[in-house]
Amino acid sequence: MIQLQIGMSDIKIKIIDREGVSHEVDAPTDMNMNLMEVVRSYELAPEGTIGICGGMAMCASCQCYVQSDHELPEMSDDEEAMLSEAFNVKDNSRLGCQLHITEDLDGLQVELAPEEA
């Protein structure tokens, strides 16, 4: 019963890393995680190059490009301000740390933005 529930609360996300390699990963919706943390937990970007500010929308190291047409939560002022100062920003840029893993994101496809030089 419990096992079933755990399995049920995972969604699938496709993440293209900075080398262009695509990974399909399971992300739990019941662990209060955000996309940046999912990337870190699967070590899809080297430690120290993502999540520098711990997820406070203060560094943009978790910037990603959203490639699927999911309905995403609106940007907070903080996220918008940070993206306006970040580099390599595109129209579909979001901060991974501001995207909470919910059922609505099942099937999401994102590409990690390059590491800032």
Binding site: T49, M58, F87, A117
Partner: protein, 352 residues
Amino acid sequence: MIKTDILIIGAGPTGLFAVFEAGLLQLKCHLIDALPQAGGQCSEIYPKKPIYDIPGFPEVLAGDLVDNLMEQIKPFQPGFTLGERAETIEKLEDGSFIVTTNKGTKHHAPVVAIAGGLGSFEPRKPLLENLEKYEDNGVAYMIKEPEIYRNKKVLIAGGGDSALDWSIFLADIAKEVTLVHRRNEFRGALDSVEKVQQLKNEGKINLITPAEVVALKGENRLEKVTVKDTSTSEETDVEVDDFIPLFGLSPKLGPISNWGLEIEKNAIKVDNTYDYQTNIPGIYAIGDVNTYPGKLKLILCGFHEATLMCQSAYQRINPDKKYVMKYTTVGGVTGFDGSKKEAPKAVVKAID
């Protein structure tokens, strides 16, 4: 040449607390940090934010934690080399080390403790062609001496506190101050935003938003900056003497990664079963900069690692002595400045 017992690279919370633990063992410390102030991430990234997991502090602002640490280590008179990055290390025949900074300052110590956190904070540079060509030739990422901008035409880019604060400050000194930001909104302390508004109204700051700098021009020295209005895509050249992009700082492990230390996951591997020593005897790594199985990048873990590191450093510096741990409550704290703190003596008195 600066001489000390333990040379600490990085003046974040871990490095600062190491000074205290070393002081209890009568060892002197000197700290090097690339930033102009102590406190590491706590001062640079989130000074006004609360931390809830420092043992004994239900809540403490990161900036206050740093102030408290500075106060706690004051009796041990640590030396500081601030605003300089540790660049090279050389091991001498007697096993001691010489660490040289990017400004050429030399430090000599028998023990080196790297408390470098996520790395030294380096300015985030905008992606512009020719940027390097104009560095120190019209382009600067930090303002060290505001006086050099007297009567100059300065263009600042950025939307955070430092861009606002420096625009305000230079408005009085420079001939012309232009502030360029990608959005109409600025993210900074309310009074700085209001002050910029006022200076703009008075014509003392030329504000261009929403816009970004897209090109740099000039024969040998920077002469013009091309600014693109992002709402109309129109480009205009602004004549300038200096361009100062202030896009914050990002940490880079940098030169330390070439010191022959074992690196894993952008961090330095250490012996966590004992004393947080690296693969080079005499060099330790403590706090966020190290890694070992189960590592957590937390302030309290850095404090613990600093404490054990100092014990090992003591043995290395005094191989013939045996140290017996004494509680501060029992032994008190005797500073190098002659100060002494100790628990008040209990009275022995009969009650009749």
